[in-house]
Symmetry: none
Subunit: 211 residues, 4 copies
């Protein structure tokens, strides 16, 4: 008899939550549009709110300030990219270096696909660079990389492995960003990804020794 009560309550609350979530979604989507179309310089809370079809007040109900929106966008990106790369790197059905190649390609293409957003987000970076979450992200990325490298360079010392991982990931990351920043064709981006993957492989091969 009382069983439906909870569903009802939850039904009453569900629309609210769903609505909030929707609103946040709308705002983030609008933020992406503003950022891609207008650039970091013209990314203003008013513009985002208007694009989202929402009042500034509502925007501030869900985000404490402008940089929080930018940071959220960046965080979401990191999460997506991280998951993508994680899933590729841990796919033991492929050879390690093949996984690396696939990762580079996936990363380059994902950067390229949202180039204007990435560039604008990069331009906005100064505003959230100091945030503590940035460290967390880097740490997570590094750990993911380490696990993969442990497979590839089993005989290296932890310190050395850490260094090599840093070099590989940094290279992939910054070159990928740079390449997609210069508006290029998909074919070009793919060529670059192959080339950079090759470079990383050459580097690792030499490191590993006789491979």
């Amino acid at each position: 008899m009382r069983l439906p009560q909870k569903p009802v309550v939850s039904a009453r609350k569900a629309p609210r939550q769903r609505r909030s979530r929707q609103l946040v979604e709308d705002i983030l989507e609008a933020a992406i549009r503003v950022l891609s179309r207008e650039g970091a310089q013209r990314f203003t809370t008013a513009r985002v709110a208007e694009t989202a079809g929402v009042s500034v007040g509502s925007l501030y109900q869900y985000f404490p300030n402008k940089q929080a929106i930018l940071f959220r966008l960046q965080t979401d990106e990191w999460k997506r990219t991280g998951e993508l790369m994680g899933s590729i790197l841990t796919d033991t059905s492929r050879a390690p270096l093949e996984r690396l190649r696939a990762t580079v390609e996936a990363f380059f293409l994902s950067e390229w696909e949202e180039a204007s957003l990435r560039v604008a987000l990069g331009d906005a970076a100064p505003s959230y660079r100091k945030a503590p979450e940035v460290k967390d992200h880097r740490k997570a990325g590094r750990e993911r990389g380490q696990r993969f490298m442990a497979e590839l360079l089993p005989q290296a010392s932890p310190k050395e492995r850490r260094f090599v991982t840093d070099v590989v990931m940094t290279t992939m990351s910054v070159v990928g960003k740079k390449v997609s920043e210069q508006s290029r064709s998909r074919a070009e981006v793919e060529a670059w990804s192959r080339e950079v993957a090759g470079m990383l492989c050459a580097y690792l091969s030499r490191r590993v020794g006789g491979i």
Copy 2:
């Protein structure tokens, strides 16, 4: 009586030109100080003028707008770095790959030495990114690189050589920037430069063939 006129005029003008040059120099120096100390966000024309001991009006007499100052700073940087790298790369008394290694090290250290300026300049990049001179710079850099690569990869097709050059230079450039952005010690930066140079050599060796 009127005879000395021309000399006088020219004498009058010379100091003016000298003065102008000095003024421009002062402004640029001030701009560098403001940028390094206060960051891109607090880089304002008023602040630069005050630091230079000059009026805003004068500043606007020599630079059409704020971004022009930033762009000039960037241009000067590029010129300096270009000359540095050019002189190393063309020093035929050293083996090509050794020259590459030296170039990477020189570039990494020059970035590292002015890290805060570089970061701030990078943060300000959005404001001058569209300027046409950016292309010229890249072209000059590429040509310098090509000449070096012609030595290293004589048998490669021009197209291929262009591509390899781009990859090498882009990698060096963006990794170097990233590394000096994260405040590291000089020893670390040197270690990174060696590692990246090694990576590039490995890449080129594979490309070249049997080296």
Copy 3:
């Protein structure tokens, strides 16, 4: 079957009324806390509602607007103080001037004990100063004073008595507020109250004539 209706309704209503009263009580208590802790500047309806564990909507069901809450707080204060002072002034077991002294002390201490609330309430005064109830309060206070003064200055004309009463009460009130506003120790506040009482007695003695 319908007989119990009225009792039931009334029983149903009683809790409601009790509940309303409780709600109002909660809101006022929360308002006091917000005002004392955060000051007039940070006294917002949202903050009060949250502190009271109530929705803003509910808050607006019981108070037409923000100033009404502040005014109610002030009114309550006035009532409490009025009762306190009334009870002292009408205590015929003590000599009139002794009663005056006791009143001053009681008032000073009561102000001092809630100094931060009083100050904040004073800061918020502009928002409710125009309310008509302010006059009622003053009238009530004046009447209370008059009755006491009738005892002390029986021979004075009503007009004169009114004036003297105003002077005495105003002096006590504003000096008391000022003293407790400057954060002082209890001993200091007591010393001030004695001194001000002495001053008022000296004034009245001269007025009365030979006392």
Copy 4:
């Protein structure tokens, strides 16, 4: 021959200084008007600038922020009142208690004449209450009072004299403010000033002893 040079230079600069001064004057005057007419609540930088016939930017060239304007208004008031009271209290051609009476009257009337400004300024006090200059002002006032009291109560201990001075000045100040706050006629205000002066004299007479 070169003599006029300096005047010329000074003439070139004089208008600027004069202009600045005039601008500051205009802004302060406008601030007074806005404060008196619209009250502390509606005292905004935009409103002041508009009333002064000046852009907000100019306003901010002369005042670092809104509270600085308010504080400057208050400071000017204090200076004026201080000078007024100082000149009366040190006029040894009159008997001390007569000087006190004159001071009270002068203070009450000066408060009354600008009642609406004073009230509004009082309402705005929370914004500058913490400023360090407030202490300086109080200190200056106290010293002025002390010098007068030294004449009146030569035999009192320094500590006692300080206390009596505080009581007298506080009473005059806060009662004067309160009286002019309630919009009264000039005659009423004068009556109040006489009465309060009488009260203070009665107090001091008792303190002094046989006077």
